[in-house]
Every structure is written in structure tokens, then in C-alpha cells.
Symmetry: C2
């Protein structure tokens, strides 16, 4: 529960479980996946898998148990509000095989906020204080209603502004590994022009993950971003130099063959 990992070489992984019918029906466009992905990458945790499941307990429990057994952390978003379709707390309790109950501190926090806003406590709002027994609160200053953490599972709201402050709250308590560093090279040629050469460089540079992403550039030409990622700065620099040298060579050849044709 504190600071960077003892060994900088230890790799911390995470999965994200997005819970919500509204995402699967297309009514709501998810804004959390990209945010969480970038956030975790920046603090040295590898996001390995994302799943989106409906508001159905068996689907949530199955996904949660699959993901928590093979990742350092599992983050969930959605399903912690006051209505009947908010079933994440129950599903998490079931996945961990523990009871669910009102969390006294969560009840206090909700009551204090209701006093400010002039609303009244009722059965629906009390649902937001129900948590698996043994859970610790994940506070948020935006809407007050807390998320929670149990074991390696961190349960957050679905509303992006609330999810983001919950992530900020929990981040300092997470173990993080050596950060993945990355370099992006604009190739100024097409993916298909460099595919074979890039594959050879990837094979020769273990410890560096090389990705190739086509895009349409400002002149509307098919262009390519080569992205290199590594936890080792020296290996990253060596692979980058190899890609740059290859690009000079391939582009000279393309120019020559165009001139000759």
C-alpha cells in the first residue's frame, strides 16, 4: 500500500472493468478507458486488458474474478449510484465471498453532503453507503459519494469527473514499477514500405516493443507513426537509432526507384 515497488524492474499490471448497459447500447460513449490507460502508463502500471460488461451480476462477478487473479490491480468504473441498476458493490462482495453492509464513514459523508444541498437521506441514497465488508473508502470531492477498495480491486464511479478524482485519491497508495518510456517517429512513408524492415528491427531489439500506426498526414498522404516503448532507456535509444537509419535507407531506395520508373 505505499510508494514505488522495491525493485524498479518489477512489473505492475492492471485491468479495467467498465460496467454499464449504456456503454454497450451505444447511448453513452465511454470517456474513461483512454483516460485510465494514459494515467496508469504515466505512473508505471501496465494496463493489460479492458472489459466492458452489462449491469448483470454474473457477468460482473465472472469478469472480476478472471481479472483480479492475474493482475496487480483491477479498476472498475460505473454502477455505484443510488438506483436499482447500480449493482457493482453487491457483485464485488459476491466475487470476494464477503457480506455487504452500510459503511459507517460512508453514511456520515453522505449525510454531511445532503445537509449542504438540502436533500434528504432515503433508502436509495443509503445504497451508496453499502460496501463489501472490509472495504476501504476511496474519497471524492466532486460528488462526495465514495468509491472503495477491497483487496486489489478499486471501485470507482462512471461519471468521468468523479472517476478522475477517485483515481487521484488512490494513485499514491499503488505500487508502481519501472515506467514504460516511449519514442514516436514520424516515418514520412507508408506502413507497407517499411513493414519488413521494421519487423527485422523488432526481432533484433528484445526489450523494446515496436508499434506501427498509419495515419493520413496534413497533405492527405498515407503516413506512419512508429512508436517504440521500453523500460530501458539505452535499449530504447538503440532501437530508435536503428529505425531512423532504416528510414533514411528505405526512403533513398524509394526515391531512386521512383526516378528510375
Amino acid at each position: 500500500m505505499a510508494g514505488p515497488a522495491d525493485s524498479e524492474s518489477e512489473i505492475m499490471t492492471a485491468a479495467l472493468l467498465v460496467i454499464g448497459d449504456e456503454i454497450l447500447s451505444g447511448r453513452t460513449k465511454d470517456k474513461n478507458i483512454g483516460y485510465v490507460a494514459e494515467y496508469l502508463t504515466n505512473i508505471g502500471i501496465d494496463l493489460k486488458e479492458v472489459r466492458i460488461v452489462p449491469d448483470e451480476e454474473p457477468a460482473i462477478v465472472a469478469a472480476l474474478n478472471a481479472l483480479r487473479s492475474r493482475n496487480t490491480y483491477v479498476f472498475t468504473t460505473g454502477g455505484i449510484g443510488p438506483t436499482h441498476d447500480d449493482i457493482t458493490a453487491e457483485a464485488v462482495a459476491k466475487a470476494f465471498g464477503v457480506a455487504i453492509d452500510y459503511h459507517p464513514r460512508a453514511v456520515e459523508i453522505l449525510q454531511a453532503r445532503l445537509k449542504q444541498t438540502g436533500a434528504v437521506m432515503n433508502e436509495a441514497r443509503m445504497r451508496m453507503a453499502r460496501m463489501p465488508v472490509g472495504a476501504e473508502l476511496v474519497l471524492n470531492k466532486v460528488s462526495a459519494a465514495p468509491g472503495f477498495r477491497i483487496g486489489n480491486v478499486i471501485v470507482m464511479a462512471g461519471v468521468p469527473q468523479v472517476m478522475q478524482v477517485m483515481l487521484d485519491y488512490v494513485a499514491p497508495t499503488l505500487k508502481t514499477g519501472a515506467k514504460m518510456q516511449s519514442e514516436t517517429i514520424r516515418a514520412d512513408c507508408r506502413e507497407g514500405d517499411i513493414g519488413t524492415e521494421l519487423g527485422e528491427i523488432a526481432s533484433a531489439h528484445a526489450g523494446v516493443i515496436i508499434g506501427s500506426y498509419p495515419f493520413m498526414d496534413e497533405g492527405r498522404f498515407a503516413n506512419t507513426h512508429v512508436v517504440l516503448r521500453s523500460r530501458d532507456a539505452q535499449k530504447l535509444a538503440a532501437a530508435k537509432a536503428a529505425v531512423e537509419a532504416m528510414l533514411v535507407r528505405v526512403k533513398a531506395e524509394l526515391k531512386q526507384s521512383a526516378a528510375g520508373s
Copy 2:
């Protein structure tokens, strides 16, 4: 492989498998999930699950086999380009236990397009014609390089403009079920004000899925959208009437209690 299902009451389901390191690292923000979700809902196919996995064969194969066994269709996006990190075709072949080979028609299509653009065929570009034996092509007019279909799995590009025309190409061949209809009601009160009542209506209206989604309205007040979904128009109308009557009642009570306090 043709038209609506014999029985309109038959439910067709789908899963979406997004393949790509760049989504999990946060470098690229996915634009396909929301599009596919809305598209499938509109043609009468229920999207039941989405997974995002890295460019790693074991992860792709495991996800594909889990998803294809329990859904009418599985759509994949990403990993069908000309570079070493494009391994979707190999992974799909492995999941189905079939060989992979150059698809003659795909080779022809690629060669014809290269002729137009002045580029040359090479080993990297030939990768885009490799497909599991038995696959049918999914054509696209944008970039020419085809996706494919094998069994109930439809393999599409990751670039949104290309993915979208592939979906248009394959959609007329899909079996579709009774379309999910939906109604959205703006509650003009807070989720917590109606949570209990909404849960009671949800319990009393089998065949209608009721979702509750908080939002901040134009006056910056906490507001709620109630979304009702059903394949049965009559059941949908009955549930909608019940929600509307409940809202009138609850809001009158809130007004009274505010006046009394």
C-alpha cells in the same frame, strides 16, 4: 448468412474484441467501441461484451475463443495491417485451428490498388493478403485491404473510417433479431430522489430494462435521464407511463417538503 431472423423474438448477440497495444497504453483513444455499439443496437443485435487486448497472440486467441462460443457474432478491430505487430489473422487461424495462407482474391485486390498508387508489392504488403483458410473477404473501398469473416467472427481494420465501411459491407449478411427500442425521460430531479421508486417500477415491468443516468443540466443542477429499453412496444409504453406518473408524484412531494421546511 441472410436477412432478419426467422423468428423476430430470437435474440442475436455480439461481442467486440479490440486488438491493440496503442489503446491499452493510452496513445490512441478508441473511436470504434461507441460506433459499433450504436450500429449493432440499431440493426437489432445486442452487444453483450467488449474486450481490449494487447498485440499478443495468446491473449487474442483466449479472448476470441471465449467470446465466439457464447455470442452469435464476434467483431474484431485492429491488427490487420502490413507490419510485424499485425498478428490478428494468425491469431484467428490459431483460434479456429486452421492454416493461414495468401487469399488469391485479396492478393489481386491489393495489386490493383498498388498499381493505382504507384507503390510496389513487397513481403510486408503481402501480409495483408494472409487469411485463415476458409475465410471470406470483407471488402472496403477506403483502403482496399480487405478484412475477412470466418465462422461467426468478423475481422475488421482498426482505422475508424475503414472499420466503418467494413461494417456496412458485412451488415446485410447478418442475422438480426427484434430491435431493442428505447425511450429517454428527463427526470428533472436527482437520481437519489427517485431511486427507490424507480427500482419498484423496474421490478414490476419485466421485459423492460430501466437505466438511470445522472447528468449536470444547463442550469448546473444534478439531473437524471431515465432510459427504458424493450423489444416490446406495449411493455415499453406501460413502463414509460409508470415512470412519468411516478415523477409527477415525487416532484410534488419534494415541492411540498421544501415548502414545509
